[in-house]
Chain length 497, copies 2
């Protein structure tokens, strides 16, 4: 591809401006009216060959598709064989605005973006002059109520782990007291990875929770053995049961209230017991357990957790890596809880394309370089987050998720009634919706059937299929999905009989 | 800023090509002839105000500068006050080609880059059609001998931790044997973070080693208490002494040989002892301990380590996060060792702008999704790595680092002889050079004096100043530094007397 450039000297001697005539990837004016499946088997021969080729260099055993990004547009993703799918999985819930978003393409070539690509700063030691403005116009413009600071990071795991570090430092600072000093023993023992310098403190999480797969975050992840087997873990970090609600909610309200009260009581008991062994510095919870199976709880449960953390002096970390940035019909899912006091930390990644966590200034460590690394995130993705936010705000995409989601869920209830032996537990907030199949095998088969009908979704937990469309997912896309879901259910019911 | 765009329909119905007329940041035709210091105090008033402003949102206590990236060029970085520094710290050793590199600016607006910015893939489940080609043309084109695979990651810490996970899974697979099965007990205990599912296995590192600051990597980092205090750590992960060489090397060869033999003997003893407690799955070592104080060892020492790891069946991970991609005068610093068999894993980040690790295919886990995360790196930075490599190869920048470094070190020996009570232990490979001051305070003061003379460097260890110039650092830049070093030494010697 030829790039045509024109250099024009500016007033500053020795400087010039470069104009680039740049042909971007072909971009569709609009989306197709629906999916298009052209191969009899999915993945088709070209995709299989492409994955085999890649597999020489990287493990592709988890790959279900090889995408042709040039031909993907909006809610539709194309594969190498020319199949076009309505995408409700969206690169594991991480695309905000759809493929080849015009707004993101325009932002991609702006001077500000080029500067961040070319001159990647070490933000902790040599931040650049426009960084504060970038933070203000991106993350801070949607900072959860009460949280005035943002720590920027590389991924969801990185966000959670640096948040855990802040929690541990905070705990120890409070323990030392106002005039407390770090002892020589602490300084020497931490170099040997033993107490008291490396204290036996814990993060508490919930059964079914997913918070990442690095060593600290994996110790709080409690989804599948597949995620945790063979990896050393912090044995004193504990988990507590997450409510297992029965559906439909209106029918089982009494039982569900009891279940949530039970889980709160167990959590409190575990917090108390931990005090004499490995005290809990913070608790981390997802607003909706996603990888764990789209498990929901009521605002009352989360308010109860907030009360517990306040009562026992531990921090509350809300992991909004998957729920954040609009899909639930709130910008942050925890807004729906109306907490009496905000969470101490809210972590994010995925749909923001950039990662990090919000906090109050009290959670800064007691000195520089303590919660620190070379890059502290990638400002390229922070600059991009500004455009994502501009699109969300100007197009009212959170409201779109709420309204489209309400329509979608209502129609899905209809399909559930039609196939009561096959489909159950339709549940969700906004477009963040899931439903269950009777067995894991049937679930996996249903995902494949949907794919053969031109709809890409993903599994979660052992029985669930999760919908994670983009924020630009509309009623017309919902109708395409609903049609496929109905057909797939009909086909499966037929097979089962 | 106005962006002029022209949309031209293409043959494909419904598609068009967008041409963007894009004014890029003003770019200097060339570098200044030397530093320019215009404020009496550094940081100057505008930088201090800028940092104060940023500090409302993020901790800036580690920041020594606020950069004006528009005015930075090549080896010279500008601050907000108009001071221009020769940069030998380079965003913590992470800039490869200098500020506002013309090649990187051109690459930043290419369609391939735009596509990766706009359509960020989840590389494990939905890789895109050009990913294998990008890997081939970037990382794999410089893969260390014998390593055929690359695992892509987000940062140095992330690279090391995912490499550790691979080592643990590999260890357990070998332990289970060819027909070994995972037991029900393993599957249930790993969900509780306890053995045998979460095994008590260790990574061995070296005193003074730095491998990152997330929970697993921090357990292998053994630099300063500041990095480790208050953070829970894996108490069974051990470290072993790294050789403490005496300088000049030619004078102390006998003693240094003994020191390296001693360290190897201690390492072997520790490996043996660990077998009955927490067996070591892998050992990680930097070719030059950087954060720890620019500690070097001979190729013989590293060959000895390789022999030990082979003998005891543990993996050897070489952490080239700071040494890799050219600065030592080899593309990978470990090439200088002429190992009889290649390391099992080589990790990278920093100057590649993208992170990851090379390995043999045997280190793939026994199933999909086991060493996995949503993004598996950022392809934007992988695309950029191609341009970095193209510049390195076409301009012979590794050779430049070797030659410029040889000149620089020779001249620094001269300055050391001139100020023998102040400057000692000039040492290095390529431009990856350091020297020592008598005390930490004097070191810190020397860094400040160099800055006031227009040269930006950084400390490491307790007594050292490290030079981490870009790969485009040439003899003329070395002369600017040498002049400043001589002046600073003269000034300090004067003060000391």
């Amino acid at each position: 591809m030829v790039t045509i450039a024109l250099d024009i000297p500016t007033d500053d001697s020795g400087h010039f401006c470069r104009f680039v005539l740049l042909p971007l990837s072909a971009q569709a004016k609009g989306e197709p009216s629906g999916p298009k499946i052209v191969t009899s088997v999915i993945p088709g021969p070209k995709t299989r060959a492409g994955l085999q080729d890649l597999d020489k260099l990287q493990d592709t055993r988890a790959a279900t598709m090889m995408t042709d990004l040039d031909k993907s547009i909006g809610n539709y993703v194309a594969d190498l064989d020319g199949n076009i799918f309505l995408d409700l999985y969206c690169q594991i819930a991480s695309l905000p605005l759809g493929y080849n978003s015009k707004a993101l393409i325009e932002a991609a070539t702006k001077p500000e973006m080029v500067q961040m690509l070319v001159n990647r700063p070490a933000l902790g030691v040599q931040p650049h002059s426009t960084w504060a403005k970038t933070l203000q116009e991106s993350f801070m413009s949607v900072a959860p109520k009460g949280l005035t600071q943002v720590f920027t990071a590389m991924s969801g795991s990185d966000s959670n782990e640096t948040a855990y570090k802040a929690a541990f430092m905070h705990y120890q600072r409070l323990k030392r007291g106002k005039d407390g000093v770090v002892t020589a023993e602490e300084l020497s023992t931490c170099m040997k990875n033993i107490g008291p310098g490396s204290p036996d403190l814990a993060i508490m999480s919930f059964d079914g929770g997913f918070h990442g797969r690095l060593f600290g975050s994996l110790s709080t992840t409690r989804t599948k053995a597949l995620h945790k087997l063979d990896i050393p873990a912090f044995s004193t970090w504990i988990s507590s049961p997450f409510p297992s609600l029965k559906y439909p909610l209106e029918k089982y309200q009494g039982e569900n209230d009891k279940e949530e009260a039970r889980c709160l009581a167990v959590a409190e008991e575990k917090i108390k017991q931990a005090k004499t062994k490995a005290p809990i510095a913070a608790l981390i919870v997802e607003p909706i357990q996603s990888e764990g199976g789209d498990n929901h709880a009521s605002p009352k449960f989360f308010q109860g957790l907030r009360d517990l953390t306040k009562k026992h002096g531990i921090l509350m970390i809300v992991d909004e890596v998957q729920t954040g940035v609009g899909p639930t019909g709130h910008f942050w899912a925890h807004e729906a809880w109306n907490l009496t006091s905000p969470p101490d930390i809210v972590t994010f990644s995925k749909k923001f394309q950039a990662a990090g966590w919000f906090h109050r200034s009290e959670l800064r460590p007691d000195g520089p370089y303590r919660n620190f690394n070379t890059w502290l995130g990638d400002p390229v993705r922070a600059v991009q987050a500004k455009t994502i936010l501009h699109e969300i705000k100007s197009k009212d995409l959170v409201k779109n998720a709420a309204e489209t989601g309400a329509y979608l869920k209502k129609e899905m209830f209809g399909i559930q009634s039609k196939y009561p032996e096959l489909i159950s537990c339709v549940r969700g907030q906004g477009t963040f919706i899931a439903f269950d199949l009777p067995t894991s095998d049937q679930r996996d088969l249903f995902v494949n059937t949907l794919r053969s009908l031109g709809v890409n979704t993903g599994g979660c937990g052992s029985l669930s299929i999760r919908l994670r469309p983009m924020l630009v997912f509309q009623k017309k896309h919902a109708d395409v999905f609903l049609d496929a879901m109905d057909k797939a259910a009909s086909c499966h019911q037929h097979k089962t009989k």
